[in-house]
Symmetry: D2
Subunit: 340 residues, 4 copies
């Protein structure tokens, strides 16, 4: 049976509505460098959605770029950013943060997350000018392993940051999936008061490309357009991203796509469970299952999965659903599982 | 009369054929990070077009980013890049090159260009380890003021670079316009043997966004994908750029659009000349005219022009034609010029 | 009883012979920037001493500077340096390496050391261009906790480096102490074939200041004087360091001072053991003892010790002997221990 | 006749009084990292001398390092420092400032100096976020060509900086020579109110090495010790520099040496003038004379001069006097001039 893979959530260009908006508004003359009316609308919609009325919003091209641009803007070179050891900036960004001149201070999190307590403990290790000075905490929501922060956790973490003079930054490459998870209890409207900055990922949720960086804390947005340009991250046709986010938040498309994607992840979980394969904790559009090597390799081949972890006699594989996942893909999976 | 502005060549999103290709191929599953078949096709087409069969081609998001990524990959921090004082990296990139840790060594060019002789002279000024070590020459074609390099000039310049152990890098943000200029004598097929690297600008020639960096000199491409990621410049949906360049070079759309744009620039020149306004030298899609202040201000307002230079009693304004310029825009300009 | 502290090995300016050499040769006219005959002599002596006849030797001001200068010269920004978690570059250099743009990849060592096996394992974790590329291994000898590498360990580690395309760099801030330890089995003459580069620490072994960086691998020394100047690390009066190292290696003063310092450390160990305090493993001029809190605090106050670790009911304190330690200091310690 | 060269002012290690102070106080136990009582005393003396009672003073190893450390501490990467084209940071520091990530904006000064007017004009060229943002002005006193700032010039320049939101930083590698010049009208006590920061050069005025960075503007000193360490510029034996500056300012040795050095420069000028060689403007310890090539080459050989500029039929040579220059050296020069 022909089907899409479960390889990742960025193998299809964009949702048709996004492309239609681009065709429609891109045919008109727009002001360049993100100063156009679509970026303005998208900014307004995002600020409303996330309860961040005084925030500044900047549209960038990709996730690693957004992390690099924001972190390098906030820190001085003797300061560091605390991250879970599993954090994207620590593992999968080819040292983009360190390459820009900033130390990532790693902490072994639990389920890919940092707790208030671990931040409090970490800060105490750095005592004088011979050591890096912690200045920011980086987290991802959803995390790199598909888990999410609950409101209580995030509230406490943010308080710990404030207590210790740290900024809290949330990588939202998969923010849509986090906030529409069955397990989520954070109202998007509260996010603006639970961190200093976050970004709303577009690339992994149906946009052609683009991330919206929301800087809630006004002291962190000073001269930010200078900074973006200095990092080579300012798009001449900034409105191309603005138009997409305008469309994504105009009538709720962003959360609609994320929700749908999560629902298919639930179906993947059901299929795997039904066939007896244990799952790792995760409540978003990434699903991790532990299988014997033979079955894992077969699934990897058939569904383009990523091999996440390999042990003596098992493999953990990752399934990712996307805005393009369809009933047919689930049926194919179910059928395949019943045959191997 | 309603008309488009002559503000710049990046105020309209993309040519319809580009959007169609995106819609068509983007609906299929693609391998991420630029390893897809469209990027592969585009690479092959570009290598053929520019006579660079051993080149490596990398697709990036924007011009400043491409300059930053390439220059920072080649240089060590004690080395510098020679640029005309008017070069984009020196003037209009918010110190992106220096911000990454590399000195731009400026030379007063002629007509926005560097000559072999000026490179030879410049290199002799740097004598020992207490001074920056020149290692690269940066030029733009077309230049920031719309002029172009002739084959003889480029040949000599490249020879001067090789004589002095320098790499030659050409910023091709407006390469299409340069190579289709009425004054151009460089066959695209020769470009691959006239420099160490260049880029083919998409953003300013009808693509949604994207630049194709062509590294001709193989020693400069080592580990380049690591480097791109490290600079935050690797797109997850790399195929989005690959699809566009594939379409641009599949049947000649790239040069077709550039040629058409240049023709309209010729018409702008004719209109200005007819009405008695002196032009600065330029043979591509940027046209610079010198006017008295009153008329200049009126034109700026009506046609969204950039004020390029201002003297005691004159203003130099810049007209830019684009893939969207139409006969109607020229007629509007002509009419307006006859009335002021 | 009046006595020196055991705080560290850099609280006294310099051994009298060093100051005499400075007074004598510094009164003559010298060529600046390290091109003088004393630096030349010192270079020759160091190359002979360490069996590194093709090495290049560069004199720098301090240890953190030497690490920063060497590591930043070798790596590209997408590459990383593997270090024990306890490594000086990771803990006590205020992110100097990351601040220059290079990731430190930490590995939990044993006794402050890295093994060949841990390097082999670590390298396997980094699989593609989305992750930092390991390119160097950093170790200290003696380590930050006073242990040393044995010849077998170092030989295997260097082999693991070569097998994996890594450079091996040894921080020798306390190299003298390591190579004159009672437990050492490395002949200084062998060091030149057991790593790609190392430095010979002067600051912590009786010199006024200064470290001698020995680059054994010729491909790593290219343009190095440009690089030193670029990092602000070239001394106009380079001969001031050259004179000191010439004196240190002219008649064996360097190892003589280190040996004497180690002998006093042995006496510190004896005193502590005699009074029943357990020691952590260490065989150089740093001695770590575990005491109950009351006695630890008393010792810290009386002998200016550093508190190394603190538990529920114990403190680990660090004693450091130096070229200035005398019998009297040991007697004072012994007496004090007998009274608390 | 045997004589010292006029090559530069850093070919002799240190004035005997400096070495004596080092021997004396260095034999006592000192607190490391610049927190010792000698550094404290030196700080107090420097603040008094330069009328900078609220300043923070930091002792560093060399001039390029001091420029690099201070400039990189103040600027963000999208900001630039305005410098005369002839400024040391632009010409003779191997791109140390750009290598750290900051653009040097060059302005053609007059006599090696920047005027208030040129700063006002320069700032107006930088209009938006696509251009580097000027944030600091760098000057040297004395300049690289031996000229000095008069009080009126400096007052106006500082005002221009304040008017434009710029910090003013004075490179004082040869500050002693500037402030004791026959042409100087700046009272050292006024310096603390005429700029935001400056440094007091030790290396070129009789110290073994070391520069005292005086940060007058308190907002620029935040976390500065972290920053110094991060740049590899913190000396473990910081007191070695502190002791020297304490001695230099305890009883006026610093200005005494500079004054004496200037007097010998006057004698060099007299000898050159007497023999008919034209001088370039300069009023400190650097003397520039224009000679025919034959005589210039002879002088260069005999007195180790630097060739400063070479024309068709002339050479400009540089004479530098130092704390070691003696009557005998002047007599030798006079005699030699009378014979060639």
């Amino acid at each position: 049976m022909k089907h899409n893979s479960f390889k990742n959530d960025y193998s299809f260009a964009a949702h048709p509505k996004i492309l239609e908006a681009l065709a429609k508004f891109g045919a008109e003359e727009n002001i360049p460098y993100g100063l156009d009316r679509h970026s303005e609308n998208a900014t307004r919609l995002i600020k409303e959605t996330f309860g961040a009325k005084d925030a500044k919003v900047f549209f960038l091209a990709g996730g690693t770029q957004t992390n690099l641009v924001f972190i390098s803007s906030v820190l001085r070179h003797y300061e560091g950013v605390i991250s879970p050891t599993s954090g994207h900036i620590n593992v999968h960004e080819t040292a983009a943060v360190e390459g820009s001149g900033y130390k990532v201070i790693t902490v072994n999190g639990k389920d890919g997350k940092l707790s208030a307590e671990s931040v409090n403990q970490t800060v105490r290790l750095f005592t004088d000018e011979h050591m890096v000075k912690p200045r920011m905490v980086y987290i991802s929501n959803s995390t790199e392993i598909g888990t999410i922060y609950h409101k209580q956790e995030l509230t406490e973490l943010y308080k710990a940051c404030k207590d210790n003079g740290l900024y809290l930054f949330m990588d939202g490459a998969r923010l849509g999936s986090a906030l529409t998870s069955f397990d989520n209890d954070i109202d998007p409207k509260d996010l603006g008061s639970l961190c200093d900055a976050f970004y709303v990922g577009g690339t992994k949720n149906g946009l052609l490309f683009g991330e919206a960086l929301v800087i809630v804390n006004p002291e962190l947005a000073k001269d930010f357009r200078f900074h973006i340009k200095n990092k080579g991250a300012m798009l001449a046709k900034g409105y191309v991203v603005g138009i997409q986010f305008e469309e994504a938040f105009r009538e709720g498309l962003y959360f609609e796509l994320a929700k749908r994607t999560n629902l298919y992840a639930v179906k993947v979980r059901e299929a795997l469970t039904k066939h007896g394969y244990p799952l790792l904790p995760s409540s978003t559009n990434q699903v991790f299952a532990k299988l014997d090597k033979k079955r894992a390799e077969a699934l990897i081949k058939e569904f383009g999965l990523e091999k996440w972890e390999e042990g003596q006699d098992y493999i953990v594989v990752r399934f990712v659903t996307s805005f393009k996942t369809e009933d047919n893909d689930i049926e194919s999976l179910d059928l395949y599982l019943s045959q191997i």
